[in-house]
């Protein structure tokens, strides 16, 4: 009888702690969510941090710009991303970088539904990158791929994703861990406070180091990689997945419509794709896809914004602009009547 009593007490303590700790002790410093802040590269899988950040943004009055590494600014630093360049052209901080490196529309859909704070009656800009439709592999309609980014954010039951075929246990694990805030909090602690996600693997890599070093993480500065030199850019034939068949486009559209349903004004910023790295045929298909997307977006009450980059030197690869490229896009947007109307200028 006594035996059970103490076990019940232990489980109650555990359950109460599990429920309360993520809220009482979030261990995130919201004072850094200012200026041109973006989720650090090393915290790309810290969805708890993203949740706290989105909560902070939702309580402010800037325009959140959500999206993948193009919005996040993979080839540049915090101060030269697209939202940062837009802020530079405005008298005050008006845009917040809510991009996440490595995320794709299917995962973004999960991120917004599961971890992000709800945005209501706001203006929101969502980056749309055609990279995710540039092959069945990117579109997740190709063969099974075990290296998909942000797998825990993907739908586990429905709709089915051809490239993502986890075991029942993996599905269940993803469903349970993302429904209980304690697990995302622990993941946050591991990523943000510890030297590595796995304590055991860290000891294997540093067998004779003092254990205290594991608990005193040193933030590594993100060093933006070098882009491809323009003269080395080669034309490629791209196997575009058309909008009527594309899974990633369906997820993107679903995210945009969900935001709209919550009373937000939504603009879809279709970020420029490096047409200088495409064959003529691919380029034609690209523009046809763009036209189709524009039409669908307008039909659904979402404002399409389609900036262009005039020269290949402003691209770092097939879809990411350089810092200069972002500057050009920002300047282009500030001249775009529809965009200016959208942001209320």
């Amino acid at each position: 009888m006594k035996k059970l009593k103490y076990i019940v007490i232990s489980f109650l303590i555990l359950l109460l702690s599990a429920a309360a700790i993520p809220y009482i002790l979030p261990l995130t410093d919201s004072t850094i969510f200012t200026g041109n802040y973006r989720i650090p590269y090393s915290m790309g899988e810290d969805y708890f941090l993203y949740g706290r950040y989105s909560k902070h943004v939702a309580s402010g009055n800037t325009i959140p710009v959500i999206g993948d590494s193009v919005i996040w600014g993979h080839y540049t630093d915090n101060e030269h991303t697209l939202p940062a360049q837009l802020n530079r052209l405005n008298p005050e901080i008006a845009f917040t970088n809510m991009g996440l490196d490595g995320i794709h529309p299917a995962a973004m859909n999960g991120l917004m539904n599961i971890y992000s704070a709800k945005f209501k009656n706001r203006k929101i800009i969502a980056g749309v990158n055609l990279l995710w439709m540039s092959s069945p592999r990117h579109d997740l309609t190709g063969p099974v791929n075990s290296e998909i980014n942000h797998m825990p954010l993907l739908p586990q039951i429905s709709p089915g994703i051809p490239s993502y075929q986890p075991s029942f246990e993996e599905k269940l694990s993803a469903l349970i861990t993302r429904s209980i805030p304690l697990f995302s909090w622990i993941n946050h602690i591991r990523i943000s406070r510890f030297a590595e996600k796995s304590f055991y693997l860290w000891t294997m890599e540093n067998p004779h180091k003092n254990l205290s070093e594991y608990f005193s993480r040193k933030e590594e500065e993100f060093k933006a990689p070098q882009g491809i030199q323009p003269e080395k850019m080669q034309e490629q034939n791209i196997e575009w997945v058309t909008t009527d068949r594309s899974l990633q486009w369906k997820f993107m559209l679903d995210t945009l419509l969900s935001l709209k349903k919550d009373g937000n004004e939504v603009a879809a910023l279709i970020t420029p794709f490096n047409t200088y790295m495409m064959t003529e045929k691919s380029r034609r298909e690209y523009f046809a896809t763009l036209a189709g997307m524009e039409w669908t977006l307008r039909e659904n009450g979402i404002i399409p914004i389609i900036p262009l980059i005039p020269e290949k030197k402003y691209f770092a690869d097939s879809s990411h602009p350089t810092a200069e490229g972002y500057k050009l896009i920002a300047e282009d947007l500030m001249k775009n009547r529809e965009f200016m109307e959208f942001i209320g200028k």
Binding site: L4, L14, E169, L201, T203, M204, L211
Partner: protein, 457 residues
């Protein structure tokens, strides 16, 4: 469906909910029988054909033993059936490989294609459980189970189905028949055992495996210090892996009101190899003792026959573990150490050696025997041991934390052996231990889907 998985947790919650609806033994037995078939079929629905065959065949042989009185014939049939199933599923590749080696060395330019038969999980456990009961019926040590459903629930009882403990009919069957009332103490003990087992597996065994796998994966890359540390890491890995599984199995069964037999009793505190086998995988050791060693004559027919019986038992025990010569060698080494140790024990200095020194000496020997068990093949095992003695001793790359855990585990076993930590069995300490173990797992252990080592047997 591993015990330490979300699937099992959900499965068990669902089974437990239905199990608890009614308290009649019949209801409980039927629910657990259905759950056991789902549990086994979850791995591969085809396994259900195998388990159904084993149940039906052994049930029928025992039935005919009683009805016809031709006990020997039907026992032989049951033994043959068990051996054939093992040969087909477990040893066919091994047999074909060896025949091919003989053909090749005889200059025959032909090799038999490998059969490529899948190895059903836990096959050796369920076959030995069922065969043990048939032998018990033969010797009249247990009564024939009249109901095939009851017999099926005994063979397929899911907590112990995949890796034991290998229960005896006279212990488990009456429990499953009358199904004891589940008390609060049962639940408390079951939860404690399950948590302890999960901790042993995920926090200890899987951690030690990171280092042991690295060393055993390529022993030529390492020198003495790392090789010794690697052998030590595997020594504790296999103990926590298997005893962790057993704790979880016993915990699950206990929550259902069934008290399964103990399978481990501080094996690394053994003062002789005989003592070791009385503490390690007790249900298998006693199976071999009761159904092979004693029927062969045990130690009652002179020293030569005793030695023969010891070697036969240990070699078969080795082969039971896996279809590979290094397991046979492992059994051989154990038999040799046991036989030599028994002779040495007759000399005065050995008999007067303090028991703590014997414990340490036996532990060191056991560590060495695990090298044969873990190595990919016998050649690797000898290379491993040779390099321990012929290469320079350098500081091992084993993490300090792991070394600390291993030292702590060893010291804890000493304290347990000498009953210095019995206070930890008090309810409040157990409650605190559960809390600490779960918090440790949640914070420090990343998701583990490693299977248990003994599942392959």
């Amino acid at each position: 469906m591993l015990f330490h998985s979300w699937s099992f947790l959900l499965f068990f919650i669902a089974v437990y909910a239905v199990f608890s609806i009614r308290s009649t033994p019949l209801w409980k037995r039927n629910i657990i029988l259905a759950a056991s078939f789902i549990f086994y079929g979850w791995w591969n629905p085809l396994y259900l054909l195998l388990i159904s065959w084993v149940i039906a065949f052994d049930y029928t042989t025992v039935l005919f033993m009683e009805r016809t009185g031709r006990k020997k014939l039907f026992l032989s049939l049951s033994i043959t059936d068990t051996i054939l199933i093992l040969c087909l599923f477990k040893y066919s590749g091994f047999i074909v490989n060896n025949i091919n080696s003989v053909l090749s060395s005889a200059g025959v330019d032909y090799s038999i294609p490998l059969p490529g038969v899948m190895l059903p999980v836990g096959i050796s456990f369920l076959l030995f459980l069922s065969l043990g009961n048939t032998i018990d019926c033969y010797f009249g040590r247990t009564e024939r189970e009249k109901s095939i459903i009851q017999y099926a629930s005994f063979v397929s009882f899911f907590p112990s189905l995949l890796a034991g403990p290998i229960e005896r009919g006279h212990h488990l069957m009456p429990l499953l028949k009358s199904w004891p009332e589940v008390t609060r103490d049962d639940i408390a003990e079951g939860v404690y055992l399950f948590t302890q087992g999960m901790f042993k597996k995920t926090a200890l065994a899987d951690y030690f495996s990171l280092y042991a796998d690295r060393i055993f994966g390529n022993p030529m890359q390492f020198t003495s210090g790392d090789l010794i540390a690697g052998a030590l890491a595997f020594t504790w890995q296999i103990y926590f892996d298997f005893s962790g599984y057993t704790d979880m199995a016993r915990g699950v069964a206990r929550m259902l009101g069934i008290n399964l037999i103990e399978n481990f009793s501080l094996p690394y505190m053994a003062a002789s190899t005989g003592d070791f086998w009385g503490r390690w995988h007790i249900s298998l050791s006693s199976w071999f003792r009761d159904y092979l060693y004693i029927p062969l004559g045990g130690n009652r027919q002179g020293k030569i026959k005793e030695t023969r019986n010891t070697f036969a038992t240990m070699l078969l025990s080795g082969l039971w573990h896996g279809a590979s010569w290094n397991y046979v060698l492992w059994g051989f080494v154990h038999a040799a150490i046991h036989t030599i140790g028994k002779q040495l024990g007759k000399f005065k200095p050995a008999a007067e050696t303090p028991v703590f020194i014997k414990r340490i000496a036996v532990f060191i020997l056991i560590v060495f025997t695990w090298i044969f068990f873990r190595s990919e093949n016998a050649g690797d095992a000898f290379t491993f041991i040779e390099r321990i003695f012929t290469t320079d001793f350098t500081m091992p790359q084993m993490p300090f934390y792991m070394a600390g855990l291993i030292t702590g585990c060893y010291l804890f076993q000493w304290l347990k052996e000498y009953k210095r930590v019995e206070f930890l069995d008090r309810p409040q300490f157990r409650g605190a231990a559960i809390l600490l173990m779960l918090v440790y797992i949640i914070i420090f252990v990343t998701y583990s889907s490693n299977e248990f080592i003994y599942f392959q047997f």
